[in-house]
Symmetry: C2
Subunit: 276 residues, 2 copies
């Protein structure tokens, strides 16, 4: 599908959605075909606390963090991501003249993935195996519904969960899902915007932004990325390797965040990367 | 659109969704084109209580009841209807082989309506005017997205809110929205299933079911309908007057509720009614 861009807005604390809706609506009204992907982690954490089912993070032996997703957490997750954030964004976009259609990866089987059937996690210094977690990863994007919508002038607003081939909803990383979506749609550009300005050489120094990631410094970029940024770098690499020409990891903050990211503010990944 | 049926499942207490998903999936797998509309009032009430924003009912001078919908209530409403219930149903249907797509009336502008800009309500014995309520009613159904989905073998699962022409989300009655959807789609049949068996001549006597509503007894049916049943009867009349051949108000309970309602269990409205 030619001439489509994918913009992913993080669900972290401190991201104002109204300015995002303003900018995204301007793009669409100007004729850009775009898919908006969003997260909702901060809303989910808040809702989970308020409902007395506080969030729990699983830490793998290698240091990878994920959300413990039992059935109740999945419901809370869907209320926050698919209810509050998704419908909130759709309303903002419709009020700005965009024919937005809010969907999860479950709807129409857009994001098909597999559930992790055994997660190794560190608990109290020991490695435990968790078998009933409802998280996983997207393995395939069925673009038919997205294309159907884009081809009649509608704008998909897409969020986790994804779904397994057996029809089980799974919590997935929205950055990597956005990257796979950009790749599957043949998008020219992917923006991964959140509450950090890009990949920082020193996580404690916001001025240490690495402005460009290419074959020459990729190992350094990977090493600099900590925590949630690891997934964003992985997502950027996956998109690039799958043919997306340009990925920018940048800030979602401010009245011109999308414009600035498209102009190169943040960490810009361009050109095919060899797999290390 | 020929050969489509609309089934609306209430969101009241005590309706098990798994058996509904079983029956609805059987219908779809057998080749029936169907739209599932659902409510979520009980889930919304529970969530609102848990979040410390308890539900408030507005009672009009004529005795009509509605949910007080301020902005926070709308968010809670969307979390329950569009998050928990909608995605729960979509997951159940996908696990049963149905290519379900969950949508609200906001998405793609399916349910266009107007907001009530002044609601008269009785408070402490006095009539007050409420101007900031986010509720209203559906005035027009844009069937294009629904038809797009049905024509490629997908099954819409549709729920409030609706949206105004200006892009404001509004809480609407799901029974009447389902009736307008059935009419707009040219559906042959509309089922309005909930936790009551149909219109009862005596609300306290479940054996006093009025089995048939026609021109001869319509006034009696209208008078017998109290509370939420008033809207169902109004919805049934609206659908019938708009050309839907058959409407059944029946029970959503049990393993064969849909089959039984289609066979006539409940209050069956058939044939055109003159407006009284």
């Amino acid at each position: 599908m030619s001439n489509v861009i994918v913009i992913k807005i993080g669900g972290g604390k401190g991201i104002a959605l109204e300015p995002i809706a303003d900018q995204f609506a301007s793009l669409v009204r100007a004729g850009t075909r775009a898919v908006l992907v969003h997260g909702g982690s901060h809303e989910t954490d808040q809702l989970a606390e308020a409902l007395g089912h506080p969030p729990r993070r699983l830490v793998s032996p290698s240091g990878h963090e994920s959300r413990r997703t039992d059935r109740r957490t999945l419901e809370i997750f869907e209320m926050a991501y698919c209810g509050k954030v998704n419908k909130g964004l759709v309303e903002m976009l419709r009020a700005r003249g965009v024919d937005a259609v809010g969907l999860s990866g479950l709807d129409g089987g857009i994001w098909i993935g597999s559930r992790k059937d055994a997660i190794r996690a560190i608990e109290g210094g020991r490695v435990v195996i968790i078998r009933d977690d409802l998280s996983g990863r997207v393995e395939r994007v069925d673009t038919s519904l997205l294309e159907l919508l884009l081809n009649c002038g509608r704008t998909p607003v897409l969020t986790p969960p994804a779904v397994t081939a057996e029809g089980i909803a799974i919590n997935v990383d929205a950055d990597r899902a956005a990257a796979m979506t950009a790749a599957a749609l043949g998008a020219t550009e992917l923006l991964l915007l959140s509450n950090v300005p890009g990949v920082l050489a020193d996580g404690n120094d916001p001025t240490s932004l690495i402005a460009r990631a290419d074959a020459g410094n990729l190992e350094r970029v990977r090493e600099a990325a900590k925590g949630r940024m690891k997934n964003k770098v992985l997502a950027a690499e996956e998109a690039l390797n799958a043919g997306v020409a340009r990925v920018v990891i940048g800030s979602a903050r401010g009245d011109d965040a999308i414009t600035r990211a498209r102009a190169g503010a943040g960490t810009v990944f361009e050109g095919a990367h060899a797999n290390a």
